[in-house]
């Protein structure tokens, strides 16, 4: 046992325990969940170990290998629980052996502990935990909350603050999610090959939802929201390391990193949103762009066709590579949108494709696609459809039609700043007409 200098006082030890918990909780929960086959119970047992640490470390000092300490305590609790439960007879000897090994590990030197922590079992356990937390039997909200709770080590109140919902709501979602998993007898496992792709899509969707919740936020605590983006990227990097051959995972991480690189440039001095082509590119985070491009290269190196995330990352990368807005490779972006529209068609992708086509090949090419979207029910109340159409009409010199579209777009948006801008554009069309 050693309490390193500067970590002696109680507050410092609590900060250390918090940090250890953030680093280790997912692994401990995953390891214990493999023993007890119940993520809810596993989390409870891991929390018991955390409570023990909070009780003992301030007095005895932080152990040399806090991860092994916590894991050993959690496993012992699990063993106690199993001994008293129905499973005891069958599982106890096996778990007892594991526990002995764990004790030895706790005393071995650090290198061995790291080796042990890195063995495939733990990696598999973590992967099982990801797939279980993102199981389709749960609602999307529940998947998000459970993933942040089990994989991110975030407390319920932190998740609640991040999503701007009452803590009780999040707590209930998590409790219900754990019960649903138990009642549905969801096995704690990585899905087999034929199910893997569909289930992986659910995992990636959850990570991207977490990211977008932080990235698209216009309201709320400005500290927690960027933290959600960071958490999603960190979780994405973990999944990418656990499944290095899944190109879509690298694609998603790259997409998140390149989008996050623009965070500082997305908002103007008075808090107004700044559109991508008008952003000060000097404020883009080049480190994140480099990482995103590297992730995309990794996805590419795996061969095969890009999935939707890698395609979107490739589009984002075109912007990331361009030193000025004029340098943007629009023909390539248009081609990537063609591929995306084929792979996962949606009216929004189609609208973006229209913009890319107009930038690459002129407004008429874009207008053709936009006109085809006019009857699309999903876009009837979507202000960007008339806004884009108005822009293309204006470029074609059809000012009167453009003005009507800008007016229509202004009536559809709920954002005051956007409405002001659209009305100004409509007025500009009218003024130059006379």
């Amino acid at each position: 046992m050693g309490a390193p200098e500067g970590r002696g006082d109680k507050a410092a030890i609590h900060r250390t325990i918090e940090a250890v918990w953030r680093i280790e909780s997912a692994r401990i929960i995953a390891t214990v969940a493999r023993m007890v086959r119940d993520v809810g119970l596993a989390e409870e047992l891991a929390q018991d170990a955390l409570v023990s640490a909070l009780e003992q470390w301030p007095g005895a000092g932080v152990p040399d290998n806090p991860a092994a300490w916590l894991t050993a305590v959690a496993k012992r609790r699990a063993l106690d629980r199993l001994r008293h439960g129905q499973l005891a007879e069958r599982k106890a000897p096996e778990i007892g052996r594991e526990l002995d090994a764990q004790h030895e590990m706790a005393q071995a030197d650090f290198a061995e502990a790291v080796d042990a922590a890195l063995d495939d079992d733990i990696g598999d356990d973590l992967l099982r935990l990801v797939f279980t937390a993102c199981h389709p039997v749960l609602s999307t909200d529940a998947r998000v909350a459970l993933t942040l709770r089990l994989m991110g080590g975030l407390a319920t109140d932190e998740i609640a603050r991040a999503f701007l919902v009452p803590e009780a709501t999040v707590a209930q979602r998590i409790v219900r999610a754990k019960r649903t998993l138990l009642e549905a007898r969801v096995p704690f496992e990585v899905p087999r090959r034929h199910d893997l792709e569909a289930r992986l899509a659910s995992v990636l969707e959850v990570l991207y939802l977490i990211f977008n919740e932080g990235y698209s936020a216009t309201a709320g605590d400005d500290w927690m929201r960027p933290a959600l983006c960071e958490e999603a990227m960190r979780l994405g990097r973990i999944v990418a390391e656990l499944m290095p051959d899944a190109s879509e995972v690298h694609g998603l991480v790259a997409l998140m990193e390149i989008q996050a690189s623009r965070t500082a440039a997305r908002v103007g001095a008075s808090g107004e949103p700044v559109l991508l082509l008008e952003q000060n590119r000097a404020r883009w985070d080049q480190m994140l762009i480099r990482r995103g491009l590297a992730g995309l290269a990794r996805a590419e190196a795996l061969g095969g066709a890009f999935g939707p995330y890698a395609l979107q990352a490739a589009i984002a990368a075109c912007h990331g590579r361009a030193r000025t807005a004029d340098d943007t490779d629009w023909p390539r972006i248009a081609a990537l949108y063609d591929a995306l529209a084929e792979l996962s068609p949606s009216p929004i992708v189609e609208l973006n494709r229209a913009v890319a086509l107009s930038m690459a090949f002129g407004p008429a090419a874009g207008l053709e696609v936009v006109d085809a979207l006019m009857g699309e029910p999903a876009l009837q109340a979507y202000h960007l459809l008339p806004a884009v159409r108005g822009d293309l009409l204006l470029k074609l010199g059809r000012r009167d039609e453009a003005r009507r579209e800008f007016d229509r777009a202004a009536s559809l948006t709920r954002n005051t700043r956007e409405r002001t801008l659209l009305l100004a554009r409509a007025r500009a069309c009218a003024a130059s007409e006379s």
């Binding site: 290198a111 390391e241 883009w284 985070d285």
Partner: protein, 139 residues
């Protein structure tokens, strides 16, 4: 927030040119440590540095540049390598540093990396080109 973990190995200030880690077990342990950070999703980058005997120091006596080749007689501690990690708090960065399989002569200094957002607005205005400078250097 990003942190730099600076590895300062005592004795490295006098290491001969071309000195390279050759203790297989130590390197393996260090690689396992790096991998644990990568698998936790926090590792941004890491590098080792050749000894200062292969380097040079540029100082500015009387505000004029003066170049001195290594090794540097007066050096007490020098950098041997670094990690850049992205973690939620200073305590997390310190916790990761404590997990390094460091040897007795090594010290890790934990330093937070300045983000443009850390500067006051008027200073930020002066640093708008900073990101593109970082890009140019690495391109």
């Amino acid at each position: 927030m990003r942190f730099m973990l600076l590895m300062i190995p005592h004795g490295y200030e006098t290491a001969a040119p071309g000195t390279i880690p050759d203790d297989v077990d130590a390197v393996a342990a260090m690689m396992a440590y790096n991998e644990s950070m990568q698998k936790a999703g926090v590792l941004i980058s890491c590098d080792g540095l050749h000894p200062p005997s292969m380097g040079a120091r540029v100082s500015f006596p009387g505000r004029k540049p003066k170049v001195v080749d290594g090794p540097f007689a007066e050096a007490k501690e020098v950098l041997g390598g670094y990690w850049i990690i992205d973690v939620p708090s200073r305590a997390d960065a310190i916790e990761w540093a404590t997990r390094c399989p460091g040897s007795e002569n090594e010290v890790i200094e934990v330093r937070q990396i300045q983000e443009i957002a850390d500067f006051p607005p008027d200073v930020q205005a002066l640093t708008t080109e900073f990101a593109s400078m970082q890009a140019a250097k690495k391109a």
